[in-house]
Amino acid sequence: MPFTLSRRALCSGLAASALSTAPAFAEDFPTRPITMIVPFTAGGAGDILARVLSQRLEPIWGKGFVVENRPGAGGVIGAVATAKAPADGYTLMIAPSSTMAVNVSLYKTLPYNPATDFIPLAIPARTTFILVVNNNLPVKSVSELIAYAKAQKEPLAYATAGPGVPHHLFAELFKSMTGINMQQVPYKGSLPALQDVIAGHVPLMFVDLGPGATQIKAGQVRPLGVSTAQRLKELPDVPAINETLPGFDVASWQMISAPAGTPRAIVEKLHRDIATIMRDPALQEQIDKTGMSPVPSPSLDDLQAYVKSEIARWTDVVRKAGIEGTM
């Protein structure tokens, strides 16, 4: 989408690239506070992550670090605001896989292009999901669940945090890989959905580790498997779904990106600085505690390739689930 950038953004982009010919520019950067747009309301995973990171980045950059919540339309409003912001490195965004890789196939029209409107800088964390069932459901493993679901006349209901979110897509992927029939029951958020699984109103769901871990440890719900190929160190007894269903390896992730057109020198500096703080074990532990897993920073080119491969992968899942272009 070549002409979606506003004229103002284009001008400042040109101005910035003109300035970037001076080698001192990236050295001086930043000379004023940096804004990190969170395209969701305060309190979500990305928001908490942004605030945790801001504590580390402020001392390095010696400038303020402002977390700005621009919620609305499932992250679209914040993403558009970032894409249209001046490409000078002073406006960044932290957004989840839905914004960066899923919405592009899910939405009929998306007013931004995740592959070309942003330069990915880091994936500070990803979130593993756990397949949990109500304690009274007579299944103890993934294979038992598959057999149980196949024996039912009616499709099994599963709870999600809303249509099109990872909870939904992971379950749809599970459905298509096992051939069982399940019916989505959407909630507004992970916790209300989990509450109804605990109470037995809905038999199962894919829940993100943060809210899920405590309830699992307290024995309120029964975990059947984790969504990633490796087991989690927090829940060593919970097998990976992969062990029963080879090839099942999914997680949602949070990505920091800058608007396309940001000068290369600044992009490299931002990438380097974020990679530096991400190596700090204390920060990794802090991220661990929020129910996310810290990710070591890949190179800039690998990040770009990763976004493209994730878009391709989720387009396929969205298509198989029959929800392409429905939002």
Binding site: G43, Y187, I198, G210, Q215
Partner: protein, 500 residues
């Protein structure tokens, strides 16, 4: 019993340390300030303070954040009474009688009664949490989609009962509220409804835009029409504190409000809001002169204020015992606790008793601080009303615009507010009460969500609503309420027939 007492003393030991008292004071003070200032709410404040909370002890952090949350409930009623701008849905009812009192020069007693009623409710609710948290948390788990739907239905019927004047108009306003609530993304499919392609409407009509339009801006327009300039706000301040007669009149209302609020607050999602609405309805039903409600009856301030404060407090029960936040502010608190490695949930009470009981005890101390902070401030707030109206109204409109914009940093919301203002003005001119509209708007989407969720779970079988006992109970209550509304109308018609 002994257990609870020893737990409370453990909690007081934690909450009454110098450091935690200080954080409690900071929290309640900040809460009051952001509650009074339109445009910045408890969510924003807690979010901004989050990085600071990482460096605090988890107990201190939670004490401060909780203080901001219930402090804002206090502050919110101040603007509702003084300038008729309810910052939160739960203070909509407070503005009905509270603002009328302010116009009659009784802003002082209204504010004073709100503070005293809230303090009493807060004290009782603290004990409710201390004694009843585990069983009440189990009750909240019993509420599935079917139960929520029937509860909401009951609430909507109550909204019609609540309205003064014509029942037909009240029903019409509820329906308009439901239609407003339909705009936005469909919860099951994400398909946009009534957004006309506008991105800013994808999440529906913003509550703050709606309430500021109807209560703030439309009200200003109506006031400006009046030639007498002062536009109905009394020049005299009146007594600053409620008289003993006022207090005596309000004692039963406060008790009923507290009881309702303590129970309904436990339900995640909309509990505190339902509490204030139903407390008001209940008062109107039991009062000997219900006509005075809506015209500045102090009981119409005392009951909902007690109910929403009790509800705000007991809404900590699902958060602390189940890890389920009732609102965005609490979701943030959970986030902050998680960074400290504590996930609120069933194990917090046994694993971290000092955290649970410390926070519970701090709530009572915080409520005490709020009374001490707020009673002397009443005089100051009331003096604001002396400002000439020609200076007040630009300020009110300014605050409404700022307040609406800052919620989502979305210009569309201001345009929505302007459009709804025209509609609100029309309603005021036609003598249609806006309160049922607000309740329809808030409850409608939740009702729809839960209705569709319940039917998805039951595979389309509607008997799910009557086969669940709690749900059936609410449906019967709704039917009974409808009969109460219908009965006087039938009687009246009979009387008219008799006259002829």
């Amino acid at each position: 019993m002994m257990d609870v007492l020893s737990n409370i003393s453990l909690g007081l030991g934690v909450a009454a340390t110098f450091q935690n008292l200080l954080y409690c004071l900071i929290g309640t003070f900040l809460g009051t300030v952001v509650g009074v200032l339109p445009g910045i709410g408890p969510v924003t404040t807690v979010a901004m303070l989050m990085p600071i909370s990482f460096t605090l002890e988890p107990v201190s952090a939670l004490i401060m954040m909780a203080g901001i949350y219930y402090g804002a409930q206090y502050g919110g009623s101040t603007t509702a009474i003084l300038i008729n701008i309810p910052g939160e849905a739960s203070s909509v009812v407070t503005s009905l009688d509270g603002h009328q009192m302010a116009r009659q020069g009784r802003a002082g007693p209204a504010l004073g009664m709100a503070a005293l009623g809230s303090f009493f409710a807060g004290t009782v609710a603290t004990f409710v949490i201390a004694f009843g948290a585990p069983p009440l948390a189990k009750l909240a788990l019993q509420f599935g989609p079917a139960e929520y739907f029937s509860l909401m239905l009951c609430g909507l019927v109550a909204a019609i009962v609540l309205a003064r004047g014509s029942i037909i108009k009240a029903i019409a306003m509820v329906v308009v509220g439901l239609i407003f609530g339909l705009a936005g993304s469909d919860v099951n499919s994400g398909i946009r409804r009534f957004t006309f392609g506008v991105q800013g409407l994808a999440d529906g009509i913003e509550f703050v835009a709606l309430s500021m339009a109807i209560y703030g801006v439309a009200e200003v327009i109506v006031n400006l029409e009046k030639k007498d300039g002062a536009a109905g706000i009394a020049g005299s301040i009146g007594k600053v504190l409620p008289s003993w007669a006022d207090i005596k009149l309000c004692i039963p209302s406060v008790l009923r409000g507290t009881a309702l609020g303590s129970v309904l607050g436990v339900l995640p999602g909309g509990g505190a809001l339902l509490a204030s609405f139903s407390a008001y309805t209940l008062e109107k039903k039991v009062a000997s002169e219900p006509r005075r409600f809506g015209q500045g009856d102090i009981r119409g301030v005392a009951a909902p204020e007690s109910a929403n404060n009790a509800g705000a407090q007991t809404s900590f029960i699902p958060m602390l015992t189940l890890g389920i936040p009732s609102n965005p502010t609490m979701a943030l608190m959970i986030g902050a606790l998680m960074v400290h490695g504590i996930t609120p949930g069933p194990r917090v009470m046994t694993d971290r008793p000092e955290l649970f009981w410390g926070v519970v005890a701090s709530m009572w101390l915080g409520n005490l601080m709020l009374v001490v902070l707020n009673l002397p401030m009443v005089g100051l707030w009331v003096r604001l009303l002396r400002m000439p109206y020609r200076m007040m109204f630009p300020a009110i409109i300014g605050f409404c615009c700022i307040g609406t914009y800052t919620i989502n940093s979305n210009v569309t919301d201001i345009a929505v507010m302007a459009a709804i203002t025209l509609f609100g003005y029309l309603c005021l001119k036609l003598d249609c009460e806006p309160a049922p509209l607000i309740l329809g708007y808030v409850l409608g989407p939740m009702m729809e969500e839960n209705l569709r969720r319940a039917l998805l779970i039951s595979r389309g079988d509607p008997t799910i609503f009557v086969s669940a006992p709690i749900s059936l109970g609410f449906l019967i209550a709704a039917a009974a309420l409808l009969l109460i509304v219908a009965a006087p109308a039938i009687r009246q018609r009979r009387e008219e027939v008799m006259v002829e």
